[in-house]
């Protein structure tokens, strides 16, 4: 879909911080609040703005740490629908947080999150590998998150080191 430069600008601002007020966005793009509100509504209706997730580092919250695994899956494609049908089935499991069709050594890449190792093991052995057309699975557990969705997690913040006043 072809968007206007103002629409793209609004998307960029909201991608950085979706909590920013409509008033501030309007000032930044030199438009009226009314018109910005309309644009956002349109972008939501067109499903260009898909949702407003909050990026949380759960590993910092005691008792809330998730176990994350990435699973490489080989699949026999089905005549007529290729990989889509089996992918669609897998995507519906709530444990699955992302799912991609890949080129290379395997077909589907799945990310799943669970509370315990046991939960993940059960998902793989009882739900995933028993699906017809799934040939094999390889499970990798994620040990530590350094960067996610463009955001660097662990590093000490690169804080403002400038002097208070400079020429």
């Amino acid at each position: 879909m072809k968007l206007s430069s103002e629409e793209i600008e609004i998307l960029r601002i909201m991608e950085e911080n979706h909590k920013i007020s409509v008033e501030s966005i309007a000032l930044m793009v030199m438009s009226s609040e009314e018109s910005v509100r309309k644009t956002i509504k349109k972008l939501e209706d067109d499903k260009i703005i898909m949702s407003y997730p909050t990026l949380i580092d759960w590993s910092k919250v005691e008792g809330q740490e998730n176990i994350i695994a990435m699973i490489d899956v080989k699949v026999t494609p089905k005549r007529g629908v290729g990989f889509d049908e089996v992918a669609d089935r897998i995507a519906r499991f709530p444990e699955v947080s992302s799912l991609y069709l890949m080129s290379g050594g395997y077909d589907l890449s799945i990310t799943i999150e669970g509370k315990t190792m046991n939960q993940i093991a059960t998902f793989v052995s009882e739900k995933l590998s028993t699906i017809e057309n799934v040939i094999s699975t390889t499970t990798h557990f994620m040990l530590k998150k350094y960067k996610h969705d463009g955001v660097i997690f662990s590093s000490g913040d690169e804080k403002d080191r400038r002097m208070v006043v400079s020429p």
């Binding site: 960029r12 000032l27 930044m28 793009v29 403002d160 002097m163 208070v164 006043v165 020429p167």
Partner: protein, 395 residues
């Protein structure tokens, strides 16, 4: 024991005025919890690929001197950049010198062209170093005042009024520090006519070239007839967020670079080797980052200008750099009083306009190279300041 050193200190050294910025810095630095709109540099850290390239060059042992004019590879990149980006061709082997920031470029330019008593026109409000550098090179700085009536742009008439038989050169800076005002191609063409008529040299400070928001930037050297008369200064500080690297460059007709190179060779030898490797990477692979930083500044400029106008401080929309220069006349305070009281009462640092020359009196410089949340908070505090003192009569 020597009690009085004044006998030993040079007359020029004695007469140099300390920068008004310095004075204000000392006051602001002595306080805690200050939100600063007083900085003349990007709030971004140098893009990682550039930092990484410098680290790698250190690992590989690039720790020696380079050619006086800088690494040839870097000069070639600079030449390609100037040609591709601004349409001004310079020969990397004898028309470009890598300097310690645009600052050293300015120094070289004045020292190369000025004789004792030569006059240099300086469009004010102006970057704080211009006049002292002219003085240090033996010249006489002559201010050309501009006003907000036409967005702090200098007109050919204003320039012509200050020209005497001693006038040698004029310094132009667009986009400008502190006003952010930008000269269009048509503006520059008008100025060029005066330059030609009076046979002057132009020192063109283009350090903010990458930060022009509403119009394509025009290099003075690309104006018809001006290539032969222009000493072009640019660098990595602002557009590439590399202020601390101290890297810039000067490009000029060969007879002028020859002289500048002699001075550079004796005073500086060359710019740091490993940092020049970072600069090569900057010119090769940072297009997207530079664009993204520019978009971010543009948004913030819009936000700040409109909010200042809303809270009662008249502010024109500057076309470039990262400064706004609102009028504080309605408050009845001088720019120094305004800046000082705002700092003491609300802990927001801005720079008084008079440190940039007389025509800056009645204004303050606010930099928007600061995060949105900080800008929002700073503007809220400025509004509180104005309201608490009933300094602006609400229309």
């Amino acid at each position: 024991m020597i009690e009085d050193y004044s006998r030993y200190v040079s007359e020029t050294g004695k007469e140099l005025k300390p920068s008004g910025i310095r004075k204000f810095f000392d006051l602001a630095a002595s306080m805690e919890g200050v939100i600063s709109l007083g900085v003349g540099e990007p709030d971004f850290i140098t893009p990682w690929n550039i930092r990484e390239a410098a680290i790698v060059s250190l690992e590989q042992g690039f720790t020696s001197y380079t050619a006086n004019a800088g690494l040839l590879e870097l000069r070639q990149e600079i030449s390609a950049y100037l040609d591709k980006r601004f349409g001004v061709p310079y020969n990397p082997s004898n028309q470009i010198i890598v300097t310690i920031g645009a600052s050293q470029g300015l120094d070289l330019a004045f020292r190369a062209i000025l004789n004792q008593g030569d006059e240099v026109l300086i469009v004010e409000p102006a970057f704080v170093s211009y006049s002292p550098l002219v003085t240090l090179a033996g010249g006489r700085p002559i201010p050309v005042s501009t006003s907000p009536a036409n967005g702090f742009k200098v007109t050919p008439e204003q320039i012509e009024q200050q020209i005497t038989s001693k006038t040698k050169a004029i310094l132009l800076c667009s986009p400008n520090n502190p006003t952010g005002s930008t000269l269009t191609k048509a503006d520059l063409e008008g100025i060029a006519k005066v330059i030609e008529k009076h046979d002057l040299i132009v020192v063109s400070d283009e350090i903010y070239a990458e930060l022009s928001y509403d119009e394509e930037f025009t290099s003075f050297s690309s104006i018809k007839g001006m290539y032969d008369r222009t000493i072009l200064l640019n660098g990595f500080s602002k557009g590439f967020a590399m202020t601390g690297w101290r890297l810039g460059f000067v490009a000029a007709p060969k007879p002028l670079t020859e002289v500048m190179l002699k001075i550079h060779q004796y005073t500086t030898m060359c710019a740091p080797n490993m940092l020049q490797h970072g600069a090569i990477e900057a010119l090769r692979n940072t297009y997207h980052e530079v664009e993204a930083m520019k978009r971010s500044y543009r948004r913030r400029r819009n936000y700040v200008v409109q909010t200042l106008n809303q809270i009662g401080l008249d502010c024109h929309v500057p076309g470039g750099a990262f400064y706004v220069f609102p009028s504080i006349r309605t408050t009845g305070l001088t720019s120094e009083q305004f800046a000082e009281e705002l700092l003491l009462q609300e802990k927001v640092a801005v720079v008084p306009g008079n440190v940039f020359g007389e025509s800056g009196e009645g204004y303050v410089r606010c930099s928007y190279a600061t995060s949105m949340p900080q800008l929002q908070e700073a503007l809220k505090r400025m509004q509180q300041f104005l309201e608490s003192r009933k300094l602006v009569s609400k229309a």
